[in-house]
Amino acid sequence: MSALPIQPDDASVDAALSELRARIAKHYPSATFEVGHGADPPGTYLVPIIDVDDTEELFDLIGERLLEMQIEERLRVYVFPIRPLARVLADLSQTGSSSSSV
């Protein structure tokens, strides 16, 4: 395997994160964000917290641009959206009730 040769500086990563946050916030004004570094895969993680049924819908907004950043600009930036914990637990309770009623 050949390693990707370019290690972008923090400024490129910061700019990418700002751009992605702005795109997401424009469509989901109540979204909140966390940023961190992760190892699987190695890179900088943007974690938007959005209250939606399916977090994958976010990638209709940013998917193409994110791919450009990752492939053409060679930025190790990843977006892992999550839902608020209350929403996750509420959905789990609902699933649990419907399972037990079957």
């Binding site: 050949s2 390693a3 699987d40 996750v88």
Partner: protein, 132 residues
Amino acid sequence: MDLATLFLAKAQESLAGADSELLSRRFNNAANRTYYACVHAAISALLDAGAATPGRSGEWGHDFVQARFAGELIARRKLYSSDLRDILGMTMRLRHKADYQDDGVSEVQASRAVRRAHALVEAIRQVAGGRL
């Protein structure tokens, strides 16, 4: 058996695991196996196309496989449909949800991922003809 065939066989094994987990309604497990099915399938495609060679460690990083598969085989050589451009990213996100987040992978998400992984493996087999 060459290396490309070996990785396609791994992909098919993972995909069979994903099918089985989906049928058993274990959606997080299905997402996990789907991701590895896609990565192994993409590695097989890269090897078959002569677009990458394994390093001595034998490891393939996600960013490298995604960049070469989407950038070289889809964007530059146009061997595969652009619909498959984000398949490694999408399945990796679901694996993350399955393996690391408090939220879980839904039936809809798992089913969609497994369906797309089947399309990827089939496309790679078609492009390879009888080689794989």
